[in-house]
Symmetry: C2
Subunit: 697 residues, 2 copies
């Protein structure tokens, strides 16, 4: 995939320039300096050759057999040039030129033209408005970057060209190498999804990292990322997190979930690791690039000073990793060469004067322990220490074992040489123990993700025809806020239990309905114009007899009319009172980017106050549904406190999965709240006591 882009046999620089400092000059220079071994041509109508490369007046006159065009010419002639490339059999193009959608309306038009030119001609286009890309492996430097990065197995994609520049500059100092470094620019054709897919298949890339400001197609991205993360880790920075789209939402779910939440869910559900800054991005990338994945989460710390050992211990516990318990045999081994003042328990403290040989023996002992899955080795530069020799010992011992090793040599001047040795020899180094532990944590998380079974989405037998009918009827009446009765009918069709209920149009009606259902009852106003019923005095619970029902009816109609004067009132719902059970909420809001986002959490009237909720994108597995429950404090409540019986968790996960199915089946449903869904531990049933659905216009 994208073979012509990444591994072209011949390349043409269109808009190559003689003038130093110009982009068209830098592009040609970079290709030459990188040592590209294929054919190299230039297009420039004014000169015969540049830097020894023959120039052609236009694309049409270029020789055959060119796979890749790198384009740095005025924006307005780019679309035509792409077409020309297509007709010459040039399969891929990097458009460096700016002046497209980033500069306003005219640019947007031009970008549309570029898009259709790419589509019609079949030329795959990277950019426009980008730095280009570098493939270090076959020496294609189709960029105007000022430096040449080292070879390595980390692939980078970035929506910011300037960041690529900074990343290269930074990598040279820390001896981080890249397989491919790709600036995506405006992503007219090739976007994060296509590039991640290609890099997933790229044997030279072991880990994919990226900087994204948006994602073009949510569901596609998730599907691809999910596939790729089974093979290799993807680590992303998602910037622009603060620009949460504050759309007016009428449901609890909609108002609690922000745009950022959808990204979180998307990354979680596809195994993508998130980094909070460039620093953490490469902290993680180094770990994955250099070290094997851990088999478990039991971490050992070896240090020559107490303080850093404690800091690392704190970090391990806060991260949720486990603290390795060393075997007696290992401790005996350690005791055999350590002084009595040393600590042979994890964190192993081999004391400040430990020479490299002691480090070597100690690391060997702990890594050989079957109870250890990963090692964090710390050093402070005390006077008598040979840091370089210690680095050597770390490198050598680490290679003997198939367990990840992270190092933190704390300081700067005295440890500099040792750190450089570590970095050049595949030991990821971190300036603090905390960052080392954080990187280890990511490896463990990724290992757990890889170990998960393939997603199986359960489908329940449901009555979707009925839901279809209800939705169509509501749309026909322009009833976009579906009433409580219809909402419950939808849920009922999807296997939910709903309380007995009937609509009363008069006080007398109400009394008869209540007698038929049985006391006590709940009464609720039925009006398409009253969304928050309690606020408007439209809810009354625990009515115990005919006179209470009659009074409540009259008062309710009166009050609602006062609060919402123009409300169309259908009557009052008389409903069975479900007194038993713990109150939860299950909801859904449709994210414009990623589709249905499900919410689970503590129900009741304080949902938005306490916000004890968790989110996942639909469709989800039963494991993911269970994860949603475990991710809240409400879980403890469902398990039962103070001697209460636990509710049936299976039942709750099924409820979530049914809503997942409903949201996938009916894209028209924009928002949905079941609140409260009462879960009874005694009868093992879930009753949708109240519900609300909003459909799209």
């Amino acid at each position: 995939m994208l073979e012509k882009l990444f591994n072209p046999k011949a390349v043409a620089i269109i808009g190559a320039s003689q003038t130093e400092g110009k982009v068209g000059h830098a592009l040609l220079k970079n290709m030459i300096e990188e040592g590209f071994e294929g054919g190299l041509y230039a297009v420039n109508p004014k000169v015969g050759e540049i830097m020894g490369v023959k120039c052609y007046p236009d694309v049409k006159s270029l020789p055959d057999g060119i796979d890749l065009a790198v384009i740095a010419i005025p924006a307005k002639v780019v679309p035509q040039t792409i077409e020309d490339c297509g007709s010459r059999g040039i399969g891929a193009a990097v458009v460096i030129s700016a002046g497209f959608k980033e500069v306003g309306k005219e640019g947007k038009e031009l970008e549309k033209k570029l898009e259709s030119a790419a589509m019609l001609s079949g030329v795959r286009v990277l950019g426009p408005n980008c730095l280009g890309f570098i493939n270090t492996m076959n020496r294609v430097n189709a960029s105007f970057a000022a430096d040449h990065p080292e070879k390595g197995d980390i692939a980078v994609i970035s929506q910011s060209g300037a960041l690529c520049t900074a990343i290269i500059d930074w990598s040279l100092k820390h001896h981080i190498g890249f397989s491919k470094l790709i600036s995506m620019g405006n992503k007219t054709d090739l976007d994060e999804e296509l590039l991640i897919e290609a890099l997933g298949n790229d044997k030279e890339s072991k880990v994919i990292v990226g900087y994204l400001e948006d994602i073009r197609n949510g569901p596609h991205f998730i599907r691809t990322a999910e596939k790729v993360t089974r093979q290799k880790p993807i680590i992303l920075i998602k910037a622009g997190t603060s620009a949460a789209g504050a759309t007016a939402a009428s449901s609890h779910t909609g108002s609690i979930a922000g745009a950022q939440m959808a990204y979180e869910c998307a990354f979680n559900s596809s195994g993508v690791l998130q980094a909070g800054s460039l620093e953490t991005l490469f902290d993680y990338a180094q770990a994955f690039s250099y070290q094997p994945l851990p088999k478990g989460d039991r971490i050992v710390i070896v240090t020559n000073a107490g303080g850093p050992g404690i800091m690392a211990t704190d970090a391990v516990e806060h991260s949720g990793l486990s603290f390795a318990k060393l075997s007696d045999a290992t401790k005996d081994k350690l005791r055999s060469f350590l002084s009595s003042a040393a600590n042979v328990n994890n964190p192993v403290d081999i004391l400040g004067d430990a020479p490299a040989e002691t480090y070597r023996k100690a690391l060997d002992a702990v890594l050989a322990d079957d109870g250890v899955d990963g090692l964090v080795v710390l050093l402070t530069p005390q006077a008598m220490i040979d840091v370089a020799k210690t680095a050597e010992a770390v490198i050598e011992v680490s290679r003997k074992y198939n367990k990840p090793t992270m190092a933190s040599f704390i300081g700067a001047k005295r440890v500099a040489h040792g750190i450089e040795m570590l970095q050049k020899n595949g030991i990821p180094h971190y300036p603090t123990p905390e960052r080392a532990v954080d990187a280890m944590k990511q490896m463990v998380e990724y290992m757990k993700w890889r170990a998960k079974p393939k997603k199986v989405i359960r489908r329940f037998p449901v009555n979707s025809t009925k839901v279809d009918r209800i939705i169509n009827l509501n749309r026909k009446h322009q009833q976009y806020n579906v009433g409580e009765q219809d909402s419950k009918a939808v849920l009922s069709a999807y296997g939910f239990t709903v309380p007995q209920c009937s609509l009363a149009r008069s006080a007398q009606d109400a009394v008869s309905a209540a007698s038929a259902i049985g006391y006590p009852v709940v009464m609720k106003i039925s009006s398409p114009d009253v969304i928050h019923k309690s606020d408007a005095g439209g809810v009354k619970v625990g009515l115990r007899g005919p006179s209470e029902v009659r009074d409540a009816f009259e008062l309710m109609i009166k009050r609602v009319k006062e609060v919402v004067p123009d409300a169309r009132i259908h009557g009052v719902l008389i409903q069975e009172m479900v007194s038993d059970g713990r109150e939860i909420i299950i909801g859904m809001t449709r994210d414009p980017q990623f589709g249905p986002m499900l919410m689970f959490g503590l129900g009741g009237i304080y949902v938005e106050v306490l916000k004890d909720v968790s989110f996942q994108l639909a469709p989800l597995t039963s494991e993911a549904a269970l994860q949603m429950i475990l991710g809240t404090k409400t879980y403890n409540l469902l398990k039962g406190v103070r001697g209460e019986k636990s509710v049936d968790m299976q039942l709750v996960t099924e409820c979530i999965q049914r809503i997942s199915q409903l949201s996938m089946d009916f894209p028209d449903i924009q928002e949905l709240d079941i609140n409260p869904l009462k879960i009874s531990s005694e009868f093992s049933r879930a009753v949708a006591v109240d519900a609300r659905i909003r459909i799209s216009k």
Copy 2:
């Protein structure tokens, strides 16, 4: 204070050695190399002089006028040596020697001897088991550190000597200078409190940073820190956070609060800033050392690339800082020299090719804006940029304004020189925008702390005699879990409203009591042996008539006897049913280190499930009490949701303050829960519906 330690006229190295590599050699060498200008002597019975310094056989034979002894001799002779120092008028000693409490029982004994020697002789002792200290200002290097740190205005205290070594090594590369660097060792005499007090008075120290593993005296520390932070910032790492003392607690408050929470509260209430790693510690220290405090929290970002600008924007919003809104005049000024593709709104993007002069003008324009309190300036090393000149521009413009500037030049090789220039010229530099913003956030937090009025603790008129009597009576009966009635009597004496209540010993009693109080009533078992009453079937609410009361009485006695067979049962409490109000919890648990720790939060039976709580140490101000409320989601509940009236917040803060006063007045009270405390918005009253007190044995 500690004048003889930090600014000695003459110094003696006791245990000075001729042999290179020995600590006693390094100590003398460091004093000489540092260039100490006072008298320098050595004690070594075997030689006449070392490195030109005259040796004396023992302390007694040393000349007069020595202020400071630096001791590196076997541990067992140290206590006697301290006494000798005292009798020779040597006022301060640094004990480098190890072999004290860190090596077990014998060492502990020895350390006790050292402690009393110090006390009796009046010699102030730093250490033992430490690296020593360095005062760069008057060139006292009483340490065996391998390097000499630069001069600066950051003071360091550390409970880990190895960390001091690492810090010095690191500081040399980043051009961070120190006023004093102190390794505290075992803290036998001089501890964090005394050192922080001394550094607070030290004109050469602008900011105090430290690494602590424990605090010797909680309340003293808080008092001193609170005083010092009014003058200069204190930034601490508290390590060992994961070793939470899991003591068995019988109250909600006790079981939710961990040992770490007390440290958090202590730091919060004394204005101490906390750092999570060495990196963040010095990220913050540099900001305070180099830059003026901001006047407000409105931050502007200037960048030459979009990506980093977005990352900085995210960081600003997540940190809770405000985004500066530039004035029209400023924007016009920016427009006058920026190209039309640039962004003149915050974050100001001056584009990738911006030369130093454009940076200069842009920074000048935004810093002159009255709506800007602080600046974060970003740079990515794009090809045409002169990084050094840009650094110069940042330095020059920043000096013109009394507003903090933080820089992040992203990369490594190409930006190295610029970064060095920034660091040498008082502009704190951070590898990522996120870290720059975090440092800015700390400055704003500290500025807010300094702006707070002095603490005023309100005292309420209370009946403490009554409480005294109740506690004494309970202790006399070895009744350490004070019963509900007595607990409520204590609260009542401190101004709380409690429900009407009386104890019934028979079913008939119960009915009479209920009639007197008025239906509905609540019934609760009264037994010193039943702590969690609901769990044992010992609570029944909403009893509406005589027959219900009679049945409940009999059933309750029967059930409690089944669940807690040996329970001594005093009878059943018949209590007014307080149906109105929102349920909160106010509690207290006494931290062994810091004293009474107050808790506020969501009440009811789900306290420990939902854990929506906040903590503060007593005694507290009404502002701090309000902060406790604002720190929970329960606040929104009290404010009222869905059209509910807000409760009287003043009333709630008073309740917290009354419990603060009670905890300070009665150190015997170990734990206390009022749960629920029902706050009614209608009647503006707070009723302690249930309460529990545990007193010390």
